[in-house]
């Protein structure tokens, strides 16, 4: 459930009006707003936030691996509005079996390399990405280094 104080914040309120099922959780902690979005709605939500809420700038896309708990992965988006000088963090949770989410490259061009990096280091697939290939590791590399079950030494 979304905590009451989060549901009343303008971004969360606007989103729940747009799509009541999109936001499944949220928190306001240390002055930062986080909304957890259903993975299958992420692209729609991002389009809405960019068009209606002024989040024209995508600062970052990254992921966190919560191995061995499930859902294992969190994909994290940091949005910024130059107009209101505010940040918003979106999160989607993905299970290990279905580590796939829609790409937001159609919304922000910047997502292109960010998503490639997440794919490279976590092995999360981005559906609809124009060319999802490794970006930091060599092309023929095995495994995804930022996963928690990838050891820091002695992998090979």
């Amino acid at each position: 459930m979304i905590p009451h104080e989060v549901a009343e914040m303008p971004d969360a309120a606007a989103l729940s009006e747009f799509d009541p099922e999109a936001v499944i959780d949220g928190k306001y902690d240390r002055g930062e707003l986080t909304l957890v979005v259903r993975a299958d709605r992420i692209q729609r939500v991002c389009e809405f936030l960019k068009a209606q809420r002024g989040y024209r700038y995508l600062s970052d896309v990254t992921a966190v691996d919560w191995f061995p708990s499930e859902p294992r992965f969190e994909v994290i988006y940091h949005l910024y509005s130059h107009h209101r000088k505010e940040r918003l963090r979106l999160k989607s949770r993905l299970s290990e079996a279905a580590a796939e989410i829609a790409s937001v490259v159609p919304v922000w061009g910047a997502a292109n390399w960010y998503e490639r990096e997440v794919f490279d280091l976590f092995g999360i697939q981005f559906r609809g990405h124009p060319h999802l290939r490794r970006i930091l590791m060599p092309e023929d590399w095995q495994g995804h280094p930022l996963r928690k079950d990838y050891p820091i030494t002695g992998y090979r």
């Binding site: 970052d60 994290i76 130059h82 061009g109 910047a110 060319h131 970006i135 930091l136 590791m137």
Partner: protein, 396 residues
Amino acid sequence: MPELAIPPDARTLVLNMGPQHPSTHGVLRLVLELDGETIVRATPDIGYLHTGIEKSCESMTFHQAITLTDRIDYLCPLTNNLCYVLAVEKLLGLEVPPRAQWMRVMLNELTRIASHLVWLGTHAIDIGAMSVFLYCFREREEILNIFETASGQRMMTSYFRVGGLALEPPRDIFPRIENFLKSFPARLQEYEDLLTRNRIWIGRTRGVGILSAEDALDLGVSGPTLRASGIDWDLRRDNPYSSYEKFSFQVPVSTDGDVYARYLLRIAEMRESLKIIRQAIDGLPEGPVQAHAPGVVMPEREKMKTQMEALIYHFKIVTEGFRVPPGEVYQAVESPRGEMGYYVVSDGTSRPYRVKVRSPSFANLQALPKLAEGRLLSDLVACIGTIDIVLGEIDR
């Protein structure tokens, strides 16, 4: 291989540039598709300097990881230190004493000048103005000496610690900074005399590498590259951190969006940084440089010799580190290249669960094809120089 679509009539030539090319500022590889001398497509290929810093951070204590942040962007180590410790301080809910905050601002602005000097020198030498390079490095040396006075290190400073500074700054750092403030405006004028109205410089930079505001925002560009395209956004002013709200300074903005505009803008930024350093020295508050947070901040050496508590805290911090309450924060600062952000996740232990570095050059480099495509091959060198990339922070 980067995506290459060679047209069926194969009139274009594919040329590999880098990774060992003197004007790529590190190890950047570009795959160029050329039609004669015109660039049809430029595809950056990165990762040659990937050292897994984010992964290494997860196996270190919060305190140890500070040393890794220096190595991310080796032209502005103090900005990285600042961004990381601000993020950890936010997780801890720690208030830093004013003197430490002002020192952080002062040293950060010196870092900005040092970084812009390297940019100016290398950018100019790429286009053929050799002497500027020699002058810039002369002045940068003075700044590195100041860093050495403060931290004992010229580049890998690790001077900012969680809760404040590593040490009270030595007294002779202030006359050194005063000297620099006295001499630098004239030196800056020297560079301008060499370049600003130089016909060759103008010919090589004006109208070259144009980036529209629309494209810049879409591609996540930040810093001087974004401001030269007409977007007035500076984190120091818009989301102030470390007491920046108490300083008065201008944010230069230009609407031309070309290489020349970015040159003028960074020169103007150096002048503004001087103003901030001046204010920081004049109004530097007295007091401690470390927060009162036993168990997080290293105890003083003297106390360790006389007090049992201090000795225990020291032992605990060094052997197992300090615990950080669970949570996640994203802290962004204005680095010389743009929005530098640290996303730090803690699971309640003494080691970060995840550290993600949002490096400005990574996003800015995505805009390079927009700058270079359709231009001549010789303009490419100016386009690479103007976005001021540091491969260390792109590849991390």
